[in-house]
């Protein structure tokens, strides 16, 4: 699986789910409407940049710390984010991204060097990222087999549907 696109860079650490989607918005039922507040607690321009600049988010370490709200993955997807490259993630946010099929690559080097708007190509299976302009290669962490499988299935929802329909064995 390969994903390419231009990056939106917000290279800060400890971006909490409260910043990705502030608590009071969690009761909005329509996800499109909720996504209008995507990353509002960090930088209000980011959401617009996903439209005008690029669809790969690059950020720092411990991304998605704090509350378990899955909305913190959904609003990124709803804002058009196709993949996320970060130094590290908080556990529940990462787990939610896997379950919802949003590809995440952990890479220590790229966030510090890449510039907003540059194009990259991610090879998910190997965890490598290539900067299109310079050809520079960044070695990220390859997702586990389990996680790759989840990406291929499109997340836990299609998987569970297959189980319910008897197309897959019970767990």
């Amino acid at each position: 699986m390969k994903i390419s696109g231009k990056v939106v860079v917000y290279n800060h650490d400890n971006i909490s789910t409260d910043q990705i989607i502030p608590g009071p918005y969690a009761y909005i039922k329509d996800m499109k409407e909720m996504a209008e507040h995507c990353l509002e607690g960090a930088d209000r321009t980011l959401r617009e940049r996903f439209r005008t600049v690029g669809n790969i988010l690059v950020a720092g370490s411990n991304f998605g710390c704090g509350s378990s709200r899955e909305y913190a993955v959904i609003v990124l997807k709803e804002s058009g984010v196709q993949a996320v490259v970060i130094k590290s993630a908080a556990r529940i946010w990462y787990r939610n991204s896997v379950n919802l099929g949003l590809p995440v690559i952990f890479c220590k080097t790229l966030p510090d060097t890449i510039r907003e708007g540059e194009e990259i190509e991610i090879d998910l299976a190997s965890g490598t990222i290539r900067e299109t302009a310079t050809g520079m290669i960044h070695k990220g962490e390859a997702p586990s087999e389990f996680v790759m499988n989840m990406y291929k299935e499109g997340g836990i929802k299609p998987l569970m549907r297959k189980r319910v329909l008897g197309e897959l064995p019970d767990r």
Binding site: G41, N62, G66, A90, F146, I156, D170
Partner: protein
């Protein structure tokens, strides 16, 4: 292979003899919780073609984060939850009861050996009772509702040994903030954080849960405190249900071990905007504060209310200060009334809101404005946490520090009220 008690709990839940760190297992869950922020659970459940919850007796819906409903959207969400609970026959814990995390031990549902999964990041709190307890996302939980299972990666275990003895005016919250200050917010990511040592053994169950709930801010997947007499007595006081205490093998090797001597520990405060910005309160004392919040699953338990009330007895907060108190559960409200704490707090000038999460999650009952500062006994001080203003500042501290700050109107170290004058 030597196993940790948590690994044994996971192995039992997966129907296996043994499990190894890094391995992915499918585990059976004993208790599933859903809180009122996540109506999306029910939507995901339907999208995954779920019809009947696999075992409604094991499912608890907690209307605790925004209780009673603060606006129309929340009221609609609560309505949907009530209908779902009714239709499925699962437990509805309505707006009058309090915070799910504190209700589980009151109801004897946090027990050694049990597997607990809740749509809430502070679920690791129940490791204080020797349970495996992890927070899961909403869709994850919806999948559990279908077949009672979930995928789990078997975590490594780190041990935090707390030696020495806490001095007067130093509470479990200070110990937790100190550990965060020393080790940061990431050292426990994906891991089990075990707390051990004389300081922990000395603590009541309520105090132990302060350590385990704060472990969420250390990144923990779950936590563990070896069940001892204090644990067993507490659990048996609340339930007759059987439970299994697994023992860690004597030759088990922790991934990392940390040791701290807390005998000289002074009261701590985490200054904005990160939980690991810990300082001695005395080093930053004197900062003017607009509001003190005593509440949450971390700092709204009976011991916290008692500590605050004992100090506030006969005192009054100044007109420049607001003191918002939100007790964690209905039971705590009742006991506070019986013991006279409720009256003391009211007389001191407190605003007491209905039990639940209240201002902790910034949804209702004590939201702070931009450019305001709040000293809080809760567990997070991220930007925007207490209502959305990025210019608001939250300082995390113990209930004692909070109570003393409420009286002096500025951040104050317990035992040093007025010292900075």
């Amino acid at each position: 292979m030597a196993m940790h008690a948590v690994h044994k709990i996971m192995a039992a839940a997966a129907g296996k003899e043994q499990v190894r760190p890094g391995e992915i297992i499918t585990a059976k869950i004993d208790l599933v919780g859903i809180n009122d922020v996540y109506q999306i659970v029910m939507q995901s459940f339907q999208e995954m073609l779920g019809e009947k919850v696999w075992d409604p007796g094991k499912v608890y819906i907690f209307l605790d984060h925004n209780a009673p409903a603060s606006d129309l959207k929340v009221a609609q969400a609560h309505k949907i939850f009530r209908e779902f609970a009714q239709e499925q026959g699962c437990h509805l814990v309505d707006i009058n009861e309090g915070i799910g995390h504190n209700l589980l031990p009151e109801w004897g549902l946090a027990r050694p050996g049990s597997m607990i999964a809740i749509t809430d990041s502070h679920t690791p709190i129940h490791g204080a009772y020797g349970a495996f307890a992890a927070g899961l996302g909403a869709t994850d939980i919806a999948a559990v509702l279908i077949d009672g299972s979930t995928w789990l990666k078997v975590p490594e275990v780190v041990n935090i040994r707390l030696n020495g003895k806490l001095q007067k005016n130093v509470m479990a919250k200070d110990a937790a903030l100190y550990v965060l200050g020393q080790l940061g917010t990431e050292f426990g990511t994906y891991k089990v954080i075990e707390f051990s040592g004389p300081v922990v053994e000395d603590m009541s169950m309520e105090e132990r849960t302060v350590l385990t709930v704060m472990a969420t801010e250390m990144g923990a997947k779950t936590t563990y405190i070896k069940p001892d007499k204090t644990t067993i007595d507490d659990v048996k006081n609340h339930t007759n249900a059987p439970f299994v205490v697994h023992e860690t093998d004597p030759d088990f090797v922790y991934e990392t071990e940390y040791e701290f001597d807390l005998t000289n520990l002074k009261p701590q405060v985490a200054i904005p905007h990160s939980v690991d910005n810990a300082r001695n309160v005395e080093d930053v004392a004197g900062i003017p504060i607009n509001q003190v919040f005593i509440g949450s699953c971390t700092g709204g338990k009976l011991t916290d209310i008692a500590a605050a009330a004992e100090f506030l007895d006969g005192k009054k907060i100044p007109p420049s200060m607001r003191l918002v108190v939100t007790m964690a559960t209905k039971q705590i409200v009742k006991e506070s009334i019986e013991k006279g704490y409720y009256q003391i707090l009211l007389d001191a000038g407190a605003t007491i809101t209905s039990p639940g999460c209240g201002a902790c999650s910034g949804l209702l009952g004590g939201i702070i404005a931009g450019q305001e500062r709040c000293v809080s006994t809760a567990n997070r001080n991220f930007p925007g946490r207490m209502g959305g203003s990025l210019e608001a500042e939250v300082y995390l501290a113990s209930p004692l520090t909070a109570a003393q700050t409420a009286v002096s109107g500025k951040l104050t170290c317990p035992g040093q009220t007025g010292l900075e004058e």
